[in-house]
């Protein structure tokens, strides 16, 4: 019984809950901002890199190579290392425009670098899943390579990759808490601060609840999209 009470007091103390809520919420808003900015950047950059990776011909080979190196490097490096490299490394360079940014900027940059590599692969799988006959039909109507890509291939590819894309974004949202290591005053930092002062871990639970409430709707929405697509595919197969 004693242990149970200790657990309740340490992790689920109502007083600490109330006391920590404003600071933790303020920190979580920083996470929300980071995730929105990073997600928008990732969506655009990853599509660009996926397109570069698919460019045909020998002339495009160096660009394809660069795109491959990029995705290999940033998919292979743990986010926390990228965060250190960006958050501590870039300021150390003392370069104008690069070294004097806010920690928020470096946090977003680290998240964007890593998740762009993941999402590039998601887009690429989507683009490759569109049957070649679609591109052929578009080209045979006189559309250029890029017009076929833009109007025929990518719209179909993007529809197909929305569920895996949202899964990656759930990962990104949670990983915004990791960039606390470079001094972004986000939710984990606030919770840590609170728990250090109060010798109580309730603030971490509060922060976790914020993330869970953000993730659950997104996860259910993803399930819903997958179910809708499966229903449509069954209907087509009849």
């Amino acid at each position: 019984m004693h242990a149970f009470h200790e657990v309740l007091k340490s992790f689920f103390s109502p007083q600490s809950f109330r006391a920590s809520l404003p600071d933790v919420w303020a920190g979580f808003q920083v996470n929300l901002k980071m995730m929105v900015v990073a997600e928008l950047l990732v969506l655009a950059l990853a599509l660009g890199i996926a397109i570069v990776r698919g460019l045909p011909g020998r002339a495009a080979a160096p660009f394809r190579g660069l795109a491959i190196v990029y995705t290999d490097v940033f998919r292979g490096t743990p986010l926390i290392l990228v965060a250190f490299l960006v958050g501590f490394g870039l300021p150390g360079l003392q370069l104008q425009g690069v070294s004097t940014r806010s920690n928020f900027f470096y946090g977003v940059l680290a998240l964007t670098l890593v998740y762009t590599a993941y999402v590039t692969e998601v887009y690429r799988a989507g683009i490759e899943s569109v049957h070649g006959s679609q591109r052929m039909a578009a080209r045979s109507l006189g559309l250029s390579y890029f017009q076929a890509l833009r109007y025929v291939v990518i719209p179909q590819a993007v529809r197909r990759v929305i569920p895996p894309l949202l899964n990656d974004f759930i990962g990104l949202q949670k990983d915004t808490a990791l960039v606390t290591v470079i001094g972004v005053t986000e939710v984990a930092a606030q919770a840590q601060d609170f728990s250090n002062k109060q010798y109580n871990f309730t603030a971490y639970v509060v922060a976790a609840v914020f993330f869970i409430f953000l993730t659950i709707p997104l996860a259910r929405f993803t399930d819903h999209l997958i179910a809708v697509r499966e229903a449509r595919e069954r209907a087509q197969a009849v």
Binding site: A137, A138, S140, G142, L143, Y151, V152
Partner: protein, 249 residues
């Protein structure tokens, strides 16, 4: 009169596999040429070489007085002149019927939307599918989808149409509506066409010239009556005998 399409000694390989062997073929303006032959005889590849969906390895192809195989031709401009319809329709599934038909006029010919949609609706009316304009392709029958695919090609006002076994993927009861549409293109518009087909009675009815392809070679060509009733080559006779046996002629 020089031919509208002229293939001279065209050879196409896929790796080791020679798909077309030194093929010569001339198609005059307003002429309808049917390509018959077994699957894998090179019919589809021949069509795809004409609009440069496939690059040939040897020989030349001239379309509308212009050599298209010298690497200097504007591929997209050439394809505007040449409509192609595929066995599997290849409609764009994320677009409505109307969007399928207006995509190339808007993005390639740079018509404004209202203009493109007006002429697309006219086309759809002609093929009897105006009421399907705002449906997505998966809501249409195979025959309707193939008619939309024909309309999509016609929307670019091609001077030449290539039909690549366009009824082969259709249920038998849907074949006639598609063939009726092709017939009307010939009768009403005098469209120049090269048609790869397994519909022998249709070929016999509409073709000015029938070419029998065998292993990448045009083994025999001539007016339909001659090919279907008095073929000279043994291979042609064998092919037609098998078709008749299958009840397809």
């Amino acid at each position: 009169m020089s031919a509208f399409v002229e293939l001279s000694a065209v050879t196409k390989r896929f790796g080791e596999n020679v798909v077309l062997r030194s093929v010569d073929l001339a198609v005059g303006e307003h002429q309808v040429v049917c390509l018959i032959g077994a699957s894998g005889s090179g019919k589809s590849t021949l069509l795809r070489c004409v609009n440069l969906l496939e690059r040939i390895d040897e020989g030349t192809i001239v379309v509308d007085g212009e050599e298209v195989t010298n690497g200097k031709v504007d591929v997209n401009a050439l394809r505007r002149k040449i409509g192609i319809v595929f066995q599997a329709f290849n409609l764009f599934p994320h677009m409505t019927v109307l969007q399928n038909v207006t995509l190339a006029p808007r993005k390639v010919s740079r018509l404004d939307r209202a203009q493109a949609e007006a002429s697309a609706r006219e086309l759809l009316k002609r093929i009897g599918l105006l009421e399907k304009a705002d449906e997505y392709p998966d809501r249409l029958s195979g025959g309707q989808q193939q008619r939309v695919a024909i309309a999509r090609a016609l929307a670019m006002h091609p001077k030449l149409m290539l039909l690549d076994e366009i009824t082969s993927a259709l249920d038998p009861q849907l074949v006639s509506e598609v063939l009726a549409l092709v017939r009307s293109l010939i009768d009403d518009m005098g469209m120049t066409m090269i048609i790869a087909t397994h519909e022998m009675s249709f070929a016999r009815e509409i073709a000015d010239k029938v070419c029998f392809l065998d292993a990448g070679v045009i083994l025999e060509e001539g007016p339909p009556e001659q090919i279907f009733t008095a073929p000279e080559q043994e291979r042609t006779r064998q092919f037609l005998a098998r078709i008749i046996e299958a009840g397809r002629l």
